[in-house]
């Protein structure tokens, strides 16, 4: 069996699905954040698979852009999570519910 475009797309879709389910069900802010990174990497895989399939370099370049943006997001996101931990000594996103009362 040769590994073709479809296999990569399915793999990426599965990764994206795992990431989105993780965002929905996990309660630890750090783990939720890791799941988002998983989603972004699934996107990267999709871009690169399509890029190879079409024989252009665009997708490879885009993957680098996505990685750079993800790094910038991680810097800000971890600072926000750290700040939240300092104020309430917990990383559980369900306990971040001050505004529901």
């Amino acid at each position: 069996m040769t590994i073709g475009l479809t296999h990569y797309l399915v793999l990426a879709a599965v990764l994206f699905g795992i990431g989105s389910i993780g965002v929905l069900v996990r309660r630890n802010a750090i783990v939720v954040f890791m799941c988002i990174e998983l989603m972004l990497n699934a996107v990267n895989l999709t871009f690169i698979a399509f890029s190879r399939f079409r024989g252009t370099m665009d997708g490879h370049v885009i993957a680098f852009f996505v990685m750079a943006v993800a790094a910038a997001e991680a810097a800000v996101g971890l600072a926000i999570i750290l700040h939240l931990f300092r104020t309430r000594k917990s990383l559980n996103v369900d306990e971040a519910n001050l505004m529901r009362h």
């Binding site: 988002i36 972004l40 996101g77 926000i80």
Partner: protein, 515 residues
Amino acid sequence: MEITFQASDLWGILPALILIAFASVAALMEVFARPDQSRGFIAGFGAIGSLVALAVSIWQWTGIEGAYQVPLFGKMLVMDAFSTFFNGIFAVGALLACLLGGRYLREHKADFGEYTALVLFAAAGMGLMVQSRDLVVMFVNLEIMSIPIYVLSGFVRKNRRGAESALKYFLMGSVASAVLLYGVAFLYGMTGSTDLVAMREAFDADKALGTSLLVKVGMVFLLGGLAFKVALAPFHLWTPDVYDGAPTPVTAFMAAGVKAAGFAVMVRVFAVTFGFDALEFGADGKGWVGLFYALAVATMFAGNLAAIPQVNVKRMLAYSSIAHAGYLLVGIITGAFGDLGSATSAATAIGGNSAVLYYLLTYAFSTFLVLAAISLFGKDGEEFVHISDFAGFGFKRPFVALALTLGLLSLAGIPPLGGFFAKFYLFREAMALQKPEMVWLTLLAIVNSMIALYYYLRVIVFLYMKEPTREVPAFESKGAVAVMIVALAAVLLLGLFPDGYVEMARRSVESLALR
């Protein structure tokens, strides 16, 4: 993808460059300021930067004639009347946010110059996002806009709600970015390009492409990501918490700026490249339109019905901003029925989309007017925004109460204020299509505007007709008064003399036609 660079391209992104330069200097000024010094001068510096950017946008606008579109950086970005129009809005938004922020942050013991820097960076990101012609460049600029706003929403560190607000906005926003990008990946795979014009050409060349499953999935993901950013139901659940927890000047900047940027991108993407004629979606192409109808109806009702029981005025405004997103989507749908390139339906596209632009313009000023007044209530990281806190305020501070009242009436769409004409223009364009389903959609939107009257007028009742129950700290701020005067003048001007601004909006949309 070919990236070329000419020095003349810099002229096209000059407003964003100015904002970035001023933002960088503002960040440095914070480092060199004495610890005990008020940071009001940094906010003032940011306001000057925004004014310069606004002046450049106006200057660029005067140079625009007829069908005007300049591709920049090898078709990565574009300068047209549309982007110049929005650059102007974002510069005004940054200006008002700087004026509003200075005193507010001092009262809340969060007086840091980074506020100004972040506001200007976000405004630059918004401008570049609207100028993007390539979806990946659009994504990068979306992040340049979003990342400063994540930080800003938790800027007052004494306020525990701020930290929650920042976390929620960050997590939801990142998911939205990932979803949007996944959509772009599929569209890239199927059309072989991320350039909006090349994508449209691919769709026109191969009609079968529009029916392919991966294209549909890609479009739905792209729409989902954008829907998150502009808070369309069912992707709106983050909005009340984020708007409520964020510092009020930031809430105003988000409601005015981020929403305008999101809808501007929606206009560029859906009306110009992926109009209803480009995609065969479901049986006889109706599915794509039906999805938009469902989103619009759900958004209007979700926003308005949830706003009714709110006693926290900022939460109420957050839900009302969701409802406004629903009305705006009606305009997007109207515009997407037309095609700027065709002789027969160009008028529809121009009408619907220019109504969206006009609505965004009035909405930006109306929300700034309302939130500038609300930002005065509070002290030391705590905001007093319960509806009963406004009781009896109408006679204590007549001008602020008047500004708040007129802002709420404009949001409600009462003549002669800007909000009324914006709604009138939007609904008239939707009715002009003479499609039964659009008539129904417009009727639902009008019903929703009436529901909205209830919760807007309730705040006014508290202002003038109720006795205060407790002492509420409300500070004086020259900056906020300046914001209120500017916004009030704009709201009245947009309501009484709309012709010139409608013409601007129409010219902006005309410049979008692909070439």
